[in-house]
Amino acid sequence: MSVLADMQSRMHAALIDPHADPAAQALFAHDGRLGAAGGLAIYQRGYFLRIAACMREQFPALCHALGRALFDDFVADYIRDCPPERHTLYDLGRRFADWMEARRPDGDAPEAWVDFMIDLARFEYAAFTMFDAEGNEGNVFATSDTADSALRLQPAFALGRYRFPVASYYHAVRRGEAPLLPAPEPCHVALVRRDYITRTVPLSAPHYTFLAAMLAGSDVDAALARISARFGIDPMMARDMWCGAAGSRERWIEWGLFVAVDAGPVKDI
């Protein structure tokens, strides 16, 4: 290792864990107004505060749920175990939910509130990612006249399944409310972006299955067949859920879930 590489490795290690190498300050001149320790401390402090501020921006509802002090404690442990890897700050929270799952504070005696925090972290990162994902703005969306066989999901679309109503909790925090921790309740949602507005769409279990099939490449007919088989729903009733008087088709098209493609062969998964 070169002298330069050694110096950079030691300084970076001192940022990640200020207590790991007390001799790290010997890297620096002791002159100046701050001295070696004082100057290094500014970088150490800035490293954590900057990342914590960005994490609070990515996870506002989780920060609300945990309280800022506890949230910051989680972030401190998280970035010590998983130091940022990519050039973009948007990537900071990518591993947060998995890290919380692996480092559950309730250990061998699972508690519901921890499950909620993990699910909330997963939803918030999915929502955060959707805001700047590749989308269909500038291109044509499907219309109500588009044939079912030509409907495909647009790129800025994601599905999620959770153990708690995390989407409604998240939106309540975003509205400035102070929601209480909810009781467990299965929650299926779609996230979709049109005109740079991200929409959260609550789903029933059959709707989720239908959209999951389409996300995997099925067309509408194959996706309807999937929910009939999975939930024992009569095919006519399944079609009615899709395009009947109270069906989802028109609203989903209006919300920008679909683009139109030339209908070709599709895989029936």
Binding site: H12, G32, G38, R50, P83, E85, F128, G135, P202
Partner: protein, 317 residues
């Protein structure tokens, strides 16, 4: 890219006048008002991987104003290999937006595969100079344009450093043909913390290589100062600007404001103060304001997305 070619391209860069850092809180004001005699500097990383509104906004701004790209994660001084994916993404953005130039900092942001998201100082040694020069040449070759590098603000000096920062940057520019971005607030911050003379720094700085200048505010903690980009430019920095701007022959000048960002018109008013000093007015010393407490986090980059995002929740599918 041979040095002579880089030098030639550098000489052909435009004198853009006064500009502002592109920040999301100003998007609507920038695009709704009449075009002004202004240019904008976009933080490259906030737009490189964007498939959402930020990239669309940058397109719209670039249709109306000159734009330059300013990076914070090139990590030109790191001993990790150059990040080819990052450079490819930066090049795509540059081909798309056609900035007047592309800049970053004389710093490293991480090592061993990690990123600190801070602009960390270089040991200023001959080894570092050779290392950085080789990487600048590679980047210029790939981007097909001279790189513009900024002097960072710093709070430590490596014990093994043997070169001053102005001497390091002069040698780097001569060896590679790169241009320089002179941040006079960083000069003040680094010199104050080091207990050295900022005028002597400017005297030694290769002002003839300066393509752009930065102005920004900092927090004065009495014992030290931190480059926070969260307040107006202080009198001491205006004085450095007055001296340096004349020496650069009128380099493009940009105001950075990254935290507690005021409205667009207030930022413009702060920027327009520069015209007085460009005309040669001397700076009257303002009352020194010391901050007691507070976070005082150096602010190399505004985090763009969260405050710019809009969302709704439907009642049911």
């Amino acid at each position: 890219m041979p040095v002579a070619a880089a030098d030639g391209k550098l000489a052909g860069l435009p004198r853009l006048g006064l500009g502002l850092g592109l920040r999301n809180v100003h998007f609507d004001a920038i695009l709704s008002g009449e075009p002004q005699d202004l240019w904008f500097e976009a933080i490259s990383e906030n737009f490189m991987d964007s498939g959402g509104r930020p990239r669309a906004i940058l397109h719209a701004v670039a249709e109306r104003y000159p734009v330059v790209l300013h990076g914070v994660s090139l990590s030109i001084g790191s001993t990790d290999p150059l990040d080819r994916a990052y450079l490819a993404s930066l090049k795509r953005l540059a081909q798309d937006i056609r900035p007047a130039w592309v800049s970053d900092h004389l710093c490293w942001t991480g090592v061993n595969g990690h990123n600190s998201h801070d602009l960390l100082p270089m040991p200023l040694t001959e080894e570092s100079l050779a290392h950085v020069a080789a990487r600048v040449r590679q980047v210029q070759e790939l981007l097909e344009r001279p790189l513009i590098l900024e002097n960072p603000s710093s709070y430590v000096r490596f014990a093994q450093s043997t070169l001053s920062e102005p001497d390091f940057l002069r040698a780097l520019a001569e060896e590679t043909g790169c241009g320089l971005l002179l941040d006079v607030n960083n000069v003040y911050v680094s010199c104050f913390n080091a207990g050295s003379d900022p005028i002597a720094y400017l005297d030694a700085f290769p002002c003839e290589r300066v393509v752009q200048m930065h102005l920004a505010g900092h927090q004065d903690f009495g014992t030290h100062v931190i480059d926070t980009h969260d307040r107006p430019v202080r009198a001491e920095v205006w004085e450095l600007f007055r001296i340096a701007w004349a020496r650069t022959g009128g380099a493009a000048t940009l105001l950075e404001w990254d935290d507690h960002i005021p409205g667009f018109d207030d930022c413009l008013a702060e920027l327009r103060k520069a015209e007085r000093y460009m005309a040669g007015d001397t700076v009257s010393s303002g009352a020194a304001e010391c901050v007691r407490g507070g976070d005082g986090v150096s602010n190399p980059v505004g985090f763009l997305i969260p405050r710019a995002m809009a969302s709704v929740m439907e009642d049911a599918a």
